[in-house]
């Protein structure tokens, strides 16, 4: 009766704290830990890694975490759900099995979820009439097919639950919704039906609250001065019940705080239409959420409703979109602003003399320290002690972008006085990998999802 399960999130994004999942595991009772390693264009980076070495193409931070904790995971049966599999969940599993052998841990069951990667199938999907128009611009994907570097559909919670049903201690996915990392275990534990829209919405919203790690426990909180021991912030845990209610909390003896305010801020994070939070599993309604403080660092969440899922899944593709570069120097006062303006003028005019020009939208001049992020809103100081001048360009032509990078360093001797902080060498052109969000017919993807659990 009244069984609750404890699901945590120990990794909000690729680059989050490598110690957070270890602290979450060791800091107290926990049943499941979700770990998110994929940003929007991470998969295209993994595509390149896999081209160099077919064994790679997954998030290497994850096996490093497994090496630190595997015996403990196995002993306590704390189960891990992650998208660290990237483009190569099987390769990631091989690495984990290798680690298990090295550590002498046996009986480790690892599941892989496949079917999200549609890169190879894309031409045939386009040919079959699937437009996969860019959700922001409306352009059909055929305008960039020759420049695509990855294409993955977001899968939902069902395959995650299936892998758990088959006894996986670790579930390795590629592209799967962040919310599925929490909803998957809930569907597995409570057997929620595929059309139990309210409960699926509840699990989805639990996943949304958890998905950015410490962002619901005091990280990025408006009144940061009220947050205790942020250095030791506890990552979030949802204590969930079969009826779809849950309590957001964190381990004892950790920093940060869980209040209706810290949770509400995370609820509105990256929100679109609050009544229509669309996932592969359900359309969740954020206007139904009720928050109550239930004691220190405990927020009860209830009342959640949902509506039937849509006939589409979201496709996340990436494509090459030219080159960009940016470089910066520091200008010390007195008269720092005047010096920064002069330095910028010198760079742009010398480039112009060399025949290298950029439209206004493709070049930027920012003076950091003078309200560059919020111009017209924050007040810039009239005579600051120093200014950081940051210049950037983008263009389809790599040589133009490279030429720009050669024009920053000369400021040291051929610019105004007081120029410093130029240590990184010439800024190099970076290839821009842009994001292509689209919709794709659900049945094209779901019929081909594969869940495979193996033990070593």
């Amino acid at each position: 009766m009244n069984k609750t399960i404890r699901i945590g999130n120990g990794q909000g994004f690729w680059g989050d704290s490598i110690d957070a999942p270890v602290e979450l595991l060791r800091g107290g009772e926990i049943d499941y830990i979700g770990l998110d390693y994929l940003a929007e264009v991470t998969l295209s980076i993994m595509m390149r890694q896999r081209l160099k070495d077919p064994r790679l193409g997954y998030a290497s931070d994850f096996p490093a975490f497994v090496r630190r904790v595997l015996p403990e995971l196995k002993e306590r049966n704390v189960r891990i759900i992650t998208n660290a599999g990237g483009l190569n969940p099987r390769g990631c599993r091989e690495k984990i099995f290798e680690i298990a052998r090295e550590l002498g841990v046996s009986g480790v069951r690892v599941g892989v979820v496949e079917g999200d990667d549609v890169f190879a199938r894309l031409p045939s999907l386009v040919e079959a009439g699937h437009k996969m128009a860019n959700m922001d611009t409306g352009e059909p994907i055929s305008t960039v097919t020759d420049r695509l570097t990855s294409a993955n559909a977001y899968l939902g919670a069902r395959p995650v639950a299936q892998a758990l049903d088959q006894g996986a201690l670790i579930v390795l996915c590629g592209r799967v919704t962040d919310t599925a990392l929490a909803l998957g275990p809930l569907v597995h534990e409570f057997g929620w039906a595929e059309d139990d829209w309210d409960r699926l919405a509840a699990g989805t919203i639990a996943g949304h609250i958890l998905e950015c790690g410490a962002q619901c426990t005091g990280g990025n909180f408006s009144r940061f001065w009220e947050v205790p021991d942020l250095w030791n912030v506890g990552y979030p845990i949802a204590e969930a019940s079969a009826d779809g209610t849950f309590v957001i909390t964190k381990h004892p003896n950790t920093g940060g705080m869980v209040t209706t305010e810290t949770v509400a801020e995370q609820l509105v994070y990256e929100m679109g239409n609050p009544e229509e939070y669309v996932t592969p599993d359900v359309v969740a309604d954020f206007t139904s959420v009720r928050l109550e403080q239930q004691g220190k660092d405990r927020v009860r969440v209830s009342g959640i409703t949902g509506r039937p899922r849509t006939p589409f899944l979201k496709l996340s593709a990436s494509y090459l979109a030219g080159w960009k570069s940016s470089g910066q120097i520091t200008l010390s006062g007195p008269r720092a602003i005047e010096k920064a303006k002069l330095a910028a003028e010198v760079v742009w005019k010398r480039l112009e003399r060399a025949g290298v020009t950029f439209p206004n939208d493709d070049r930027s001049t920012e003076m950091l320290g003078l309200a560059a992020c919020l111009p017209g809103i924050l007040t810039a100081p009239e005579d600051p002690a120093e200014v950081v001048l940051r210049l950037g360009v983008r263009d389809a032509d790599r040589t133009k972008v490279e030429r720009f990078g050669q024009e920053i360093a000369p400021l040291i001797t051929a610019g105004p006085p007081g120029v410093t902080g130029f240590a990184g060498g010439r800024p190099k052109p970076q290839e821009v990998v842009a994001y292509w969000p689209a919709l794709v017919a659900r049945e094209e993807i779901e019929n081909r999802i594969q869940v495979d659990v193996e033990e070593a």
Binding site: V41, E265, S288, C373, L374
Partner: protein
């Protein structure tokens, strides 16, 4: 009296392509009615005039005492394409809290009154 939103609300922002979203949460139900009246999409557009080049949409989330604003064309292309330092609108919530609005005297928090 005139009050900065930071004294009666809190906020968080993030990105959605080339748009940013700013969720603004009032400190109480009474203050929510005030910000619902005062913080219109037009005022937000004017406040972010040098940041947001597109329209501003607003959604009401009364159960959280919150308003959700979408600032279109506000990130210089967004994501990996943008040349801006704040390519993801992470600072926009902080900017929103610097908006000044008229609040009935009896609702102004004691620290400010």
């Amino acid at each position: 009296m005139k009050v900065l939103l930071r004294d009666i609300a809190h906020a968080r922002s993030g990105d959605k392509g080339d748009a940013s979203n700013v969720g603004l949460i009032a400190a109480s139900a009474a203050l929510y009615e005030v910000i619902r009246r005062e913080v219109t999409p037009e005022r937000v557009k004017a406040h972010f005039a040098q940041v947001c080049r597109g329209p501003v949409d607003r959604y009401d989330v009364p159960n959280l005492n919150a308003l959700n604003f979408i600032l279109h064309d506000a990130l210089g292309g967004g994501g990996t394409e943008s040349l801006k330092t704040d390519a993801q609108g992470k600072t926009h919530a902080q900017g929103m809290l610097m908006m000044e609005i008229e609040v009935p005297d009896d609702l102004v928090p004691p620290a400010r009154a």
